[in-house]
């Protein structure tokens, strides 16, 4: 048992119904102050539209079907790019963690590519793919590849050798050793990579859509800027925030589900 576990936890009295709201108190308060500041004219509508105006813009955009369409397009690009880049990163992380040959063959190359900021590839990517879907998918895939690759590799390399020896003594073959010892041990580290990757996924996509796209949330924001529709610009920014939070919550839920054996993930 570590010292940290023995420390008493500081905990206030909890009321279940209110408890779930606590994380949302601050965002709600900020929005309320923002609304008051705009309604009293303290902040000009040309600088920052009131939350109510943003809501109105959202409603209009929803009724025309434009908003759903753009969110869906962005979501699709994010998901597909993530699956491609994350899948390759995961596979290479496993391969290089388990096989020295594979590691010697590819790791140096990957470390070199890693140090190129992937957004610096945008001009080249536009030249290669135009402003097609492929350009966005490529950038997202490249962005999520490295956090997943590095953390999967790290997770596999740091498996306790004593546990591997134990598995061998008890007659585990290669497959079983991977399934019962190596993979579960690497899982917390893989999740760290996953959460990093989700953040990079949104960042890359929005930048790519802002620069070169004809649909999606980033495109919607850029179009609005052209026509000075500041409420739509703010709306898109708020949607990024919500989508980011959603992705984070999903990965947390997955962590809690699969890492219930880990003392750090106990409620």
């Amino acid at each position: 048992m570590s010292v940290v576990e023995r420390l008493p936890r500081v905990r206030a009295v909890r009321v279940p119904a209110i408890d779930g709201l606590v994380p949302w108190l601050l965002p709600i308060a900020i929005i309320a102050i923002w609304q008051v500041a705009c309604a009293t004219g303290y902040v000009s509508a040309r600088v920052l539209p009131a939350p109510s105006d943003v809501l109105l813009a959202a409603w209009k955009s929803l009724r025309s079907g434009e908003l759903q369409q753009n969110i869906w397009v962005s979501f699709w690009r994010a998901a597909v790019g993530f699956l491609i880049g994350g899948g390759i990163g995961f596979a290479l992380g496993l391969a290089n963690g388990l096989s020295q040959l594979s590691d010697r063959l590819t790791d140096t190359t990957l470390q070199m590519i890693r140090n190129v900021p992937h957004l610096a590839m945008i001009p080249l990517v536009i030249l290669w793919f135009g402003i097609d879907e492929a350009a966005k998918l490529f950038l997202v895939a490249l962005g999520v590849f490295f956090p997943i690759y590095l953390n999967t590799l790290h997770g596999i390399r740091t498996v306790d050798p004593q546990l591997i020896e134990m598995g061998r003594i008890y007659g585990m073959g290669r497959g079983e050793l991977f399934r019962r010892v190596i993979f579960p041990s690497a899982l917390p580290s893989i999740f760290v990579g996953l959460r990093f990757a989700l953040g990079i996924m949104w960042l890359t996509l929005i930048v790519a859509e802002t620069i070169a796209a004809s649909s999606g949330l980033g495109y919607m924001a850029m179009q609005a800027r052209e026509f000075m529709l500041i409420d739509v610009v703010v709306l898109s920014i708020l949607i990024y925030a919500l989508l980011g939070k959603l992705a984070d919550s999903a990965s947390r839920a997955l962590e809690r589900l699969t890492l219930s054996w880990h003392p750090a993930f106990q409620k």
Partner: protein
């Protein structure tokens, strides 16, 4: 090469493995009425890591069912000897032979660290000990029986991190016992436990050894523990057997009894005089 010879019975070429496994099991049940332990004979055993010669010719015969303690100062090679017996290392020279052909499940090791899988519940951790028989239908029942043996049946559904150090070590013991081993090697299994937990673990070890009559080899630096548990204490110095002392004291032995203390004193003197010769 040597390893594969030992794992598979010599008749492996003549019958399909499934039949052999069944035959072996029946043969073992018959043998169980006598001592189930395996005797082992070590001849001229040497082991070096690079230039460092750790074992310099060990000759030792351990009769079936005996409880042997191996003591020595740290770095004397006692853990290496245990790892060689458990086939975790390959000998540089010399042989280790068991009374009859031993299967992998017949020889089990318990380490100083419990080495439980943190992501497997207690019962699943014990099932790991069944080796290749993990998939059989009675796996669950056997694991439960082994847990009951060490008094932890009510912890079957827990994650390892909620257990205390002593409890984890008892789960590790259950995992080692579940395949009904014929040789059980202990590498300072109680070294990390507090004094009181140590004593109750020693009693547990003695009880399961008595009930299951396997051959027990205990590596320890604690001479009192060696004298309390073993039939025989082997003292290793500089990679060789320096003393081989029989402990002819009737069981159950009372901790702190005068005859135990006297024997402990004798062995300690041996160990310390070895030190003076070095200096």
């Amino acid at each position: 090469m040597q390893q594969s010879l030992r794992v598979f019975p010599s008749t492996a070429e003549f019958a399909p493995p499934s039949v052999l496994v069944e035959q072996a099991r029946i043969a073992r049940r018959k043998a169980e009425s006598a001592s189930r332990g395996l005797g082992l004979t070590i001849r001229g055993l040497r082991k070096a890591f690079g230039d460092n010669e750790v074992l310099r010719g060990i000759d030792l015969h351990i009769p079936a069912g005996q409880f042997v303690a191996i003591v020595g100062r740290s770095g004397c090679g006692k853990s290496t000897l245990l790892r060689l017996i458990a086939e975790l290392e390959t000998p540089g020279d010399g042989t280790i032979s068991f009374g009859e052909s031993a299967r992998a499940e017949d020889i089990r090791v318990m380490f100083q660290e419990p080495r439980l899988l943190p992501w497997a519940r207690v019962l699943d951790n014990v099932e790991v000990g069944l080796g290749r028989n993990r998939g059989l239908s009675d796996a669950n029942a056997r694991a439960e029986a082994a847990l009951a043996e060490v008094g932890l049946r009510d912890k079957r559904g827990q994650w390892p991190y909620v257990l205390s150090g002593g409890q984890k070590q008892r789960v590790a013991l259950a995992r080692a016992l579940v395949s009904n081993p014929r040789v059980l090697a202990f590498d300072e299994p109680l070294g990390a436990l507090d004094a009181l937990t140590r004593i109750s673990m020693q009693q547990l070890l003695e009880r399961v050894w008595h009930d299951q009559s396997f051959t027990a080899i205990l590596v320890t630096h604690d001479v009192a523990e060696a004298v309390a548990l073993a039939d025989r204490v082997v003292v290793i110095e500089d990679g060789r057997i320096a003393h081989d002392v029989a402990v002819d004291i009737a069981r159950p032995r009372r901790r702190g009894a005068a005859d135990l203390a006297a024997l402990e004193g004798t062995i300690l003197r041996h160990l310390l005089s070895g030190n003076d010769a070095d200096a």
